[in-house]
Assembly symmetry: C2
């Protein structure tokens, strides 16, 4: 649980409060699938809170807080909903097929040039944390033919 401890330390150093609920959400993000929806997080945490269960309301608030601290990213994965992920480790992004829903992971190098150009041309500091790019995967593109055609 390397990242878990490191993340908790980062938060403590900022003088933020660490409640059981906050620890659980962070643990869920550290130990489970790289990115998760609110529901997935609630499910992951299920049962780990002795007595009561962690309400979605609280998860929303905790994620909002973590986003503000720059610790998690929020990404709209289209049909898969909005997902949250830890912002540690090398950044990466996703290609989402609009037709079959397949998700392809790509590393951050694809965005290096863009980020640099936006900075130098516009002074804009892009926060491309965990981007989802929509389109058609190779198979669906082949199947759809060459034209810019209809996509359900």
């Amino acid at each position: 649980m390397n990242t878990m401890e490191a993340t908790l330390k980062r938060i403590e150093d900022k003088g933020e409060r660490l409640t059981i609920q906050r620890r659980l959400v962070i643990e869920a993000l550290c130990t489970h699938a790289e990115h998760q929806t609110i529901n997935a997080i609630q499910h992951t945490v299920e049962g780990k809170l002795t007595g009561s269960k962690l309400s979605e309301v609280t998860i929303y608030r905790i994620l909002e807080w973590l986003k503000g601290l720059g610790i998690v990213s929020q990404t709209d994965m289209g049909a898969d909903g909005i997902v949250y992920a830890l912002l540690d480790t090398p950044l990466h992004h996703h290609l989402v097929c609009l037709n079959c829903g397949k998700v392809i992971d790509i590393d951050d190098s694809y965005f290096a040039d863009l980020r640099g150009k936006l900075q130098s041309d516009h002074g804009f500091r892009a926060r491309i944390d965990h981007m989802a790019i929509y389109g058609l995967c190779a198979e669906c593109a082949a199947q759809a033919g060459d034209s810019t055609d209809k996509v359900e």
Copy 2:
């Protein structure tokens, strides 16, 4: 109404039905602000439908249909909500400042390399129609200092 006629023609050629409501939505997108929210469209169209008014439900359905036809794009502009725009003419995109809300327009050339690399490396045909990139504009970045700091 150049683009208006061209758009209507494209749709007719596909054998799709053109109702008054559909014409109104297309007209709104052709003649008004480059991109609009559902509410803005409803407002734009206000009063142009003799008798009744165009319900949001129908606007949702029409935009879904236009998206499927590849005629409009849908973009989440963050605090400005979800906007829809015609996909004609040279593509362009937006930089959205997370701090002050300023929106900077950029042309599609910024994405040419990325699009090409995704195609050649993954066979992925990216549909980068009308992208919004979040971050900090020059002023807000300067004000925030150099660190990767908290953003409300």
